[in-house]
Every structure is written in structure tokens, then in C-alpha cells.
Symmetry: C2
Subunit: 148 residues, 2 copies
DNA sequence: TTAAATTCATTCGTGTACAAATGAATATGA
DNA sequence: TCATATTCATTTGTACACGAATGAATTTAA
């Protein structure tokens, strides 16, 4: 007896990696990162841009909190923040009320890079969604959010 | 005069990173990688699985070709293949007709891990798409492919 | 209040991901 | 044929991404 759902004559069940969501998600992300890199003018990565933009919204805040808000691991956000500090976009200071925390804030230069690149960031978003009509974009974004 | 499209009273134009496609794509991919990791039984990453599965389809082939078929950089596919060779899933051999190439093929163990994990890979796909109805899944996959 | 649990930041190790440079081998065209 | 271009694989350097472990600081609950 054959299990239902398998091919007749016990042919190998078909499996194609290149038809799985994961395969597409990885590539879609790769494409967006590439588009973003070519659109942005100050050598900022997508994650660095996320950290800067989010920090502008919620500053001052701790490193781990910024990581949580941007979906980055503690180890990941540390590296990202370190590089932004090194470039002078983010400033760190000890928290008076909590000896564990490092308080992050944007510097003048940090605010300036953000202002200078918001347009490019929007261009990157536009470029990534370019293959879709405006109707498709709305549907896509809605469904994409559901699987986050 | 104000540029059309901006807010009245020269309020700062709104920009939210956490509403951009890139932000969602990164997270969706992260979630899928996590689901895949917990579903798979042999400590295989999503990229390693892609390489193994694709190699089964097109073997024997060169390293760079496998990279192209799986959307991996030459440097990336090298690292992935090296780890698979080290674990005994992939075998390498010099190409008689082309002195530059390294011919890749699956070993017995390689074929075995694939067979042992196809089910888990499908479970991972299912888990990633779980928040969507079957109708939504079809639409989502179609649109996702368009932006790859 | 004090012991246990939690949070914060850091570090280590492994694994993608890609730009750029290199050298060897092959393919192309004048 | 022979110089040019292309392809292949490798290496270096930088940047995410996360598990796991550590130690210090703060919270909590008994």
C-alpha cells in the first residue's frame, strides 16, 4: 500500500528548494540590501540605518532597548552601535539611575546623516517594490507583516 | 511657498523605518531562519540546506555554478561548501576538462541527510507561512517572487 | 532584608554575505 | 598564433546574525 499523497509507482517525492518561501525571502532581502546600498550616499548599511532612524524616535535609550526595537540580537546591536559611535553618529553616556545601562543618543552629525539620507532610503524602498503595482504593494506589505 | 506633498506649517516629514519593506524583509527572513533551525534535526543552516538540495538536482557541477543557482556569492558558497565537505556531505574532485574547476557531488552521507530532513524542511516552510491562509500564501509567494 | 531571578552589556565562536584583489586556466577574436 | 577577455577558485577585510557564557547591577519575592 502506498501512503496517500505520494506519486504513483513510488517515484521520489518532489522537493524543490527554489520554490520554498525561505529561498525567496533570503533573495528578496539580498536584493533590497543591494538596492539600498546603491541608493544611499554615506556608506550606511540597512541595519545601521534602522538603528539611526529608530534612535531618533526613541532617544535617549539603552543599547539593548534599541536592539529590541530594531529586531537585533544584543551581540548584533553592539557591533552596529560601536561602528556608529566610531563614525561619530551616536554618543554614549552612563545612566545615573542604572549602573548597567549605557544611554545612547544621536550626535549633530548623526542627525545630519539621517536628514541627508531619508530621501535615498525612500528611493530604496521604492526600488525594492518597483516590480509591484501600488495595489500589489499594499497586499504584499500586509501579508509580509503577518509572517514577521 | 511649500513644496507639495509636505505637511502644513513645515512640520517634519514623517519617516518610519519600521514601516519600510526592508525592515519587514529582514525580520521575516530572521523568523524563517529561526523556524528552520528548530525544525531541522542535523544542525543544517538554511543556506547549507539550499546548497545540498540544489546540488542533488544539478550534480555534478562546479562550485561557482552551485553558488549561482543558490544565489550565493563566490566567497559565500566557498565557505558553505567547505563546511559541507568537512562534515562529509559533499565530495570534491578536479575537473579533467577544465583545470580551474572543482567538481562537486553529494556523498552517501550527503544523500542521507537530505532524505532525512526533507520532511523537516517542509515543516519549516509550513511554519513560516502558518500566519497566512492558503489563499494568502499563493498571493504572497507570487508577489514575493516578483521582488527577488 | 536577603536570596533568587532578571536585566544589561560584553565577549567568544560560528556562519552567512559581499566587495575587491589575486593568480591560474580557458575562451575569444584579430 | 597570440594578445585580450573571461571564468574559476581563493583570500582578505568588513559587516550582520545568533547561541552561549560571563559578570555586574537591579528587581522580585519570600
Amino acid at each position: 500500500m502506498q501512503k496517500s499523497g505520494e506519486d504513483k509507482q513510488s517515484a521520489a517525492p518532489e522537493y524543490h528548494v527554489d520554490r520554498q518561501v525561505g529561498f525567496f525571502l533570503r533573495q528578496a532581502n539580498q536584493r533590497h540590501v543591494a538596492i539600498f546600498a546603491s541608493a544611499i550616499g554615506d556608506k550606511l548599511t540597512t541595519t545601521q540605518w534602522s538603528a539611526l532612524s529608530k534612535l531618533k524616535e526613541i532617544q535617549p535609550c539603552s543599547q539593548n532597548q534599541l536592539g529590541r526595537e530594531t529586531a537585533m540580537d544584543v551581540a548584533t546591536i553592539k557591533g552596529v552601535v560601536d561602528r556608529l559611535v566610531k563614525r561619530g553618529f551616536v554618543a554614549t553616556a552612563p545612566d545615573r539611575n542604572d549602573g548597567r545601562r549605557v544611554v545612547l543618543s544621536l550626535t549633530e552629525d548623526g542627525l545630519a546623516v539621517i536628514a541627508a539620507n531619508v530621501g535615498a532610503a525612500l528611493v530604496a524602498t521604492e526600488g525594492t517594490l518597483a516590480p509591484l503595482t501600488s495595489g500589489e504593494r499594499m497586499i504584499f506589505l500586509e501579508l509580509l507583516q503577518k509572517i514577521c
